[in-house]
Structures are given as structure tokens and as C-alpha cells.
Symmetry: C2
């Protein structure tokens, strides 16, 4: 018989053999550092009013909903899909299909809410949209020549995912319409002239993170034509599209895409339930093998997923499926309260900015006017950097995000992102009062 020894040794007692310089380069990259810095400062100042995180409003949630959604999906399995007891239990309990189990419901939701006709087999259900981004970049980055394009300023999650596969990201200017198509063409042709292979362009056409800007409809059409002409994929990420504050929703690129140019990255973090960590990718492009056989890009992504997370938790998928079923797969309608709340928040934010920084008042502060989403961008006449954020948090009790974390475009050091998804009502007013005090202190000393 073997006696199990009780270990009392402290495994930290001896120095470790690892040096950061010997670990993957992404670990010393600013993109990964950004996320950590921003989380850390939020944790250090928990009582500050925060315009920083792009998190959805949580006030409408109750934990009982998780149980209701699980029950609803279980009923769906039993009654609508006619699974027997054993099959129902297995669905919740066991390892499941790599591409996911709620693909039919997601396809229905895309038809209802987005006018996207999706083959359910072309969907891969992922651990949030972040895994979807990683899978697509891992598939597309085959070679040191492969590069990604991204509209700048850019969501830090795509930059980070690119770092994990050592894929360089070339910045494309946003311009006044959300993407500067001429610049996109110039970057692609320039990259090709240098022997690089631009594989795709990542963008958030609706209420972009971090800029809040949307791409207008003529530019969407122009972009699809350009992608075809340049033989380029477009990676369309759409976490905020439902949160329109004024005007009608614009058609997604994917709904306009007749030539298989768009890979659609979907998230339920803002429209479903962030705690489920369920997203998806619609990748209906056909991939041709050396022997001439073809398959769906989704199936290639699924192979990668089997070695990354095996499958997305069926319990987590069941929660999202239950919410979809509860609302007949119409998430736009299901989010009516949230849409109204974010609209009110945006209105209050813009009114507050106008109040504190009248355009003839000489403050030098300007801002953009998004038509929805979670974010607006303010330009100030002094650097809005990490050092100022620290001062803002400690001395003024207000948090925001330096735009420098999202790209290095001209003027970015004078811009800051305000998120209006989590802070509401008088907290917005008070947050802006604090921001105005910070601005006054800086312009007075400047």
C-alpha cells in the first residue's frame, strides 16, 4: 500500500526557472497589457463613477432567469425536438457537438433580426465572440506573410487575438464614413507590393468600439464591391447593432453579401447574457482542398476549436437558447428595455457634454455624436493618457478609457472613450461634473 504523503513544502520557496523573455512575445505586447492596466485601475478605484467598461446594463437581470431559460430549452428538447429522457440528459451532461447545439436557433434569430439567411451548418458556436475571432485568425494566418487589416481605432480584442497567432495588424483609416475605402485599397496594394498577404479586414460597422461611429449604407455597398475586387474577406463584428438611439437599423454587411465575402462574428454578450459566454461565427465560405473537394470554412474552424476548447458548454448554450426561445428568436424585441435605456443614457451624456463644454465657451473640448451603441469619443486639448486617467480616478473619482489603447492614429492621444452602457441617470450627470472639473484643472494649468 502506498501512503500518500502530506505536502507541507511551500512551492514558492524556490525561485522559478521562467523568464518573461522566454515566453511568447504577446505577453510583453501593449495590446495585452492594455486590458490588464484598464482592469487593474477599475479594481483600484471601485467607488469612482466609471465610463470605462463596455459592459451591458445588469439592472434587468434576475438569477431566476437562468433557471427559466434552462427549463425552456429542456422543454424545447422534449416537446419540440421530441428527444427522450436519456437524450435530454445527455444533451446537458455530456461532451457535445464541436460546432455547437443551438445553431438552428441562432440561424432562426439571424433570419428574424438580421435578414441573414444562414445555413446552420455554417455556424460555429463559440466561447464568446472572442474565441470566434481567434479561430478565424488562426485559420487565416498560415504564414509570416499573412496580415490582418483593421479599421483604426480598433477593438483591443482583435489586436490581442492577432498577437496570439503572431499576425501583424495593419491599420486602415476610419474617415468620416466609418471606413476610408480608398485607404483600405492603398493599404492592401501597399502590403502586396511588399510581399505580404492581407487576408481580411476586421471592422464593427455598427456603433464601433471604441469610436461609436457607424458605416453608412453607400459605404457598405462600396466596401463589399472593394472586397470582391481586392479578393479580401471582411470580418464583421456586430455586438452593438441593436442599440439604435435614433434612425432605423442599417443592414449588416452579411445581409448585403451575395459573394461570400463576409465572415460574421456574433455575440450574445450584450443582447443575451454575458455570463453565458456564448458567441458564434457564421463562416459560409467554401474551402477547396488540394484534391478538389470542398467544405465549409465553418468546418475548418470547428477542427481548430476541437483542439482549443473542444466544445462550448452545452449548459451555457442552453441558457442562451432558452432566452432565444422565450422571445421567438427575436432579440431586438427582447432588448426593447435595454435599447430604450441606452438611448436615454446617450441623450443624457450628449446633453451633459453640451452643458459643461458649450461650443463657444473656449474649453477646446469636442465630441462625436453616435446614433447608438455603447460609446462616444471626447477630444480634449491635452493628452488623455494613462497618467491622466490615474489622476482622474484618484482625485476626481471618474474613470474613462484613453483612446491610445485602441490605436496610434493621429490625435488619438487627445481622445478618450466614454461608455454609457453601465452608468445611468444622475450618475451620468455627476460623472460629467467630475470630468469637467478634471478638464478645468488641466486647461487652467496648461
Amino acid at each position: 500500500m502506498t501512503v500518500r504523503p502530506r505536502t507541507t513544502a511551500d512551492t514558492h520557496a524556490e525561485p522559478a526557472p521562467l523568464h518573461l523573455a522566454d515566453l511568447h512575445a504577446s505577453l510583453t505586447d501593449p495590446a495585452l497589457g492594455s486590458m490588464n492596466f484598464l482592469n487593474e485601475i477599475a479594481q483600484r478605484f471601485p467607488d469612482a463613477i466609471s465610463f470605462a467598461p463596455g459592459r451591458p446594463y445588469e439592472g434587468f437581470f434576475e438569477t431566476t432567469l437562468v433557471h427559466e431559460y434552462l427549463d425552456r430549452y429542456e422543454r424545447h428538447l422534449r416537446e419540440e425536438l421530441a428527444l427522450d429522457e436519456e437524450a435530454v440528459r445527455r444533451t446537458f451532461y455530456q461532451y457535445g457537438r464541436t460546432k455547437g447545439i443551438v445553431h438552428e436557433l441562432i440561424a432562426r434569430h439571424l433570419a428574424v433580426d438580421e435578414d441573414i439567411v444562414a445555413d446552420p451548418e455554417a455556424l460555429v458556436v463559440t466561447v464568446g465572440c472572442q474565441e470566434a475571432m481567434f479561430l478565424v485568425l488562426r485559420a487565416l494566418c498560415a504564414d509570416p506573410r499573412d496580415v490582418l487589416l483593421a479599421v483604426s481605432p480598433t477593438y483591443v480584442g482583435i489586436t490581442g487575438a492577432a498577437r496570439l497567432v503572431d499576425m501583424p495588424v495593419l491599420e486602415v483609416r476610419a474617415g468620416p464614413n466609418g471606413i476610408d475605402c480608398d485607404h483600405l485599397e492603398e493599404v492592401v496594394r501597399g502590403a502586396r507590393a511588399r510581399g505580404l498577404r492581407p487576408r481580411a479586414c476586421y471592422l464593427i460597422p455598427d456603433f464601433s468600439n471604441p469610436s461609436g461611429v457607424s458605416i453608412d449604407v453607400p459605404t457598405r455597398h462600396a466596401l463589399l464591391n472593394l472586397a470582391e475586387r481586392l479578393d479580401l474577406l471582411l470580418l464583421e463584428d456586430n455586438p452593438y447593432g441593436y442599440f439604435t438611439a435614433d434612425g432605423e437599423p442599417l443592414p449588416t454587411l452579411k445581409s448585403l453579401d451575395t459573394r461570400g465575402r463576409v465572415v460574421y462574428l456574433g455575440s450574445f454578450a450584450k443582447t443575451g447574457l454575458p455570463g453565458a459566454r456564448v458567441g458564434y461565427v457564421l463562416a459560409d465560405q467554401r474551402v477547396t482542398a488540394a484534391d478538389g473537394t470542398t467544405g465549409l470554412l465553418a468546418d475548418e474552424l470547428s477542427k481548430l476549436k476541437s483542439m482549443l476548447t473542444v466544445n462550448t458548454s452545452p449548459i451555457a448554450q442552453a441558457v442562451i437558447a432558452g432566452k432565444l426561445l422565450t422571445h421567438d428568436c427575436a432579440l431586438r424585441e427582447a432588448n426593447a428595455r435595454e435599447i430604450a435605456l441606452y438611448r436615454d443614457n446617450l441623450g443624457r451624456l450628449l446633453a451633459g457634454l453640451a452643458h459643461h463644454f458649450p461650443q463657444d465657451g473656449g474649453s477646446g473640448v469636442t465630441w462625436n455624436v453616435p446614433h447608438g451603441g455603447f460609446f462616444a469619443v471626447v477630444t480634449v486639448p491635452f493628452p488623455a493618457d494613462d497618467a491622466l486617467l490615474e489622476v482622474s480616478a484618484r482625485e476626481y473619482g471618474v474613470l474613462w478609457t484613453p483612446m491610445r489603447h485602441f490605436g496610434t492614429g493621429p490625435g488619438s492621444e487627445y481622445r478618450l472613450r466614454l461608455s454609457f452602457s453601465l452608468v445611468t441617470g444622475e450618475r451620468i450627470d455627476e460623472g460629467l461634473r467630475r470630468l469637467a472639473a478634471l478638464v478645468r484643472s488641466r486647461t487652467a494649468t496648461a
Copy 2:
């Protein structure tokens, strides 16, 4: 106002621009193909008796347990951690801590069940153990010189994860004790002589997948000493350790590790609930930055995770936490029924093999005798390859796994893996009768 056009175009109408040869090399690698082939054949022959999948037995599960576990964790937050309503809701609903939220409970479980003293801050809760493997390999593979070692035959999940980061895997012989330490040293020194950097050796010391073999205690000590001498990390994966059929459990490498040599990869797929897709990694090694500051390897893994899956679903974590709390974090006790069932299955399998292939009967069939776990390996006097598996499934109605999928060691083409976790009682007997018929047909024609 913008009118949203209804899209009727079929996005498959035009050929896609993608060629498999332009996608990441892993997609044409046998390691990723294996998983697909094995899944596909299982789907094509759903009525076959299957000794193929390494899935846990599902007969003790009820979907009501998911609700009970969620409730138990919610009560824990309210009563034991004294969170207010808002904080409880936020825990389930919102994005959460990248390293996870159930780390304290996992640390308690490791103390109770494994005699491992774990700093909760050194734990990263992952989307199954597979994500943990990927994170560790991504961190360690910084350079084309970096290689992984793995005891052969090897779990296909680690090979696949290594492919995703383009990290070569060098095979180390198992030998009679589960790992041939002399060969390990030889491979490490040989690799270094060729300018390579062996970063770690992956192994499953208890009831390995696919071989079922365990590493004896003297070899565990020898291995730890060798790892120290060679300046090598050991990646200890332990999904099956609790399922002892005879004898006492052996101490994990991590519980014997006083010098920070072992990164411990944990899974709740077999002991908790596979559908939660929750695993973890204990990475308490210290990492030194260029400026001399040090941090935990877990924190570096967390940075990578923030760009891969952001965080593991708190709802999925809550399910596992609820099971842990229900059983006072003692999963070995919680799995008493499962342990007994797998023990009975193994006994029945070994008795059946002895019955069908008496050792003086001239069948040429031999097998190993594992002391627990999910797997045994049978050697046959003819190639047990994918073509034979197809025949076995179609003509004999029995599924198993060709060992060739787990490595190319000498003799592997004559071996097959039998899993006894999912098939029970008379189905084992009948499965073996079918396997015996297949063997007779082959030896008759050979």
C-alpha cells in the same frame, strides 16, 4: 430612413476564394484529422457497441442537478460570502474575473483530494482542460526552437494544441513504468544538441489516455529529480486519477513537487460535469521580467486567456462550484458510485478478454491490465487501422480506437484502445463477443 432590404441571394451561389493550402497548417495535420475521423465514424454507426469514446458514464445524472448546483452556489455567495443581491446577480450575469471565480473552492478541493497546497491566485479556471493546455503551450512556445516532449502514446488533445501554436512534439518512450526517464534525458539532450529548446514534458501519470498505464511512485520521484536536473517543466494532466480499480491512489507529481517543476492541468469533465466545460491550471511558477519584477505564471496565462475566451462562463463555473460545495469539495467521495462502476467495468472487460482470448489458445491477442481509469490496450496479430475499424463498425457492430491515432511508436499499428467508461454490463460482454468475431475473421484469413 433606411429600408432594410430582404436578402434572398444564396451566399453559396458563387465559388469561395479560400484554399485549404492557404489556411493554417494544423488544418491538414493528422492530429486534427484523427479527432474528426473518430467522431465521424461514431456518428455513422450509432447502433454499434462502442469502446471508443473516453466519455464519462452519464447514467447517474439528472438535469435537476444543474439547478441544484446553481442554487447551492448562489446560497454560498449570499450566506457564506455575504454578497448583497446586486453582487450575486452581477456574479451570474456579468463578465467576470479572467482567472475565474471558483478558484478558492478549487484550491480547497485540491487540498482535500490531492494533498496539494495551492495558492488560489495561482489557479486559472479554463474552458475545460483543453484550454488550459493551449494556454500553457502558447506561453511556452516563444520561438521556432521551442519544442514539447510528450510520453508516447499521447493524448491527441495535447498534440492538437501544440499544432495550433506550431510547436513540434518529440515523443518520449513510456517503457514499463509509464515513462522511460533515461529516454527522456536522451531526447532532451539530443534536442539541445540540435539547438532546440525543450520547454516541458506532458504526461498523464495516472491511468494514462490512451494506454491506461500509471507511473509508479519511485519513477515519479526520479522524474521530478530529472526535471530539476534538466531544467524542464512537467505538465501533469490528471483526468482519471480518482478512478482506481485496485490499490491506493498514488500521489500526484504536483503533491510531490517542492521545486515548482510541475504545472498541474485539472479537469472536471470526468469528476464534475462534462457539460459545464470547466477545467483549470495550477501554475505557481514565478516568472521574472526584464526589470527583475516577478509574477505568477498563472497571471501570464490569464493575459493570454483574456484574448482567447475572456473568461470562463460564470454560470458554468457556478455549476461546478455547486457540485463542489454539495460534497464539501471532496470529489473523490462524490464519485464513489462512478469509481465502483468503472472498477466493475474494468473487471468485466478483463474477464471477457481472458475468456475470448485464452493465453494458451493461440489467438495471438494480448492486453495490458490497468489498475483503474477508462482505458485498456489490446494487441492483435494484424494491423488495427482505420480500414479495419470501418469493417469492425459496419460488419461486426463494435467500435474501438486504433492506437495509431495516438503516436507512431513501434507496434502501435497492431494495438487498439478499448474504453470502458460508457459501456456497461452485458453490453461489454456482447461488445467483446463482436470483437472476438472480428479477430477470428482476421486470423482465419491471415
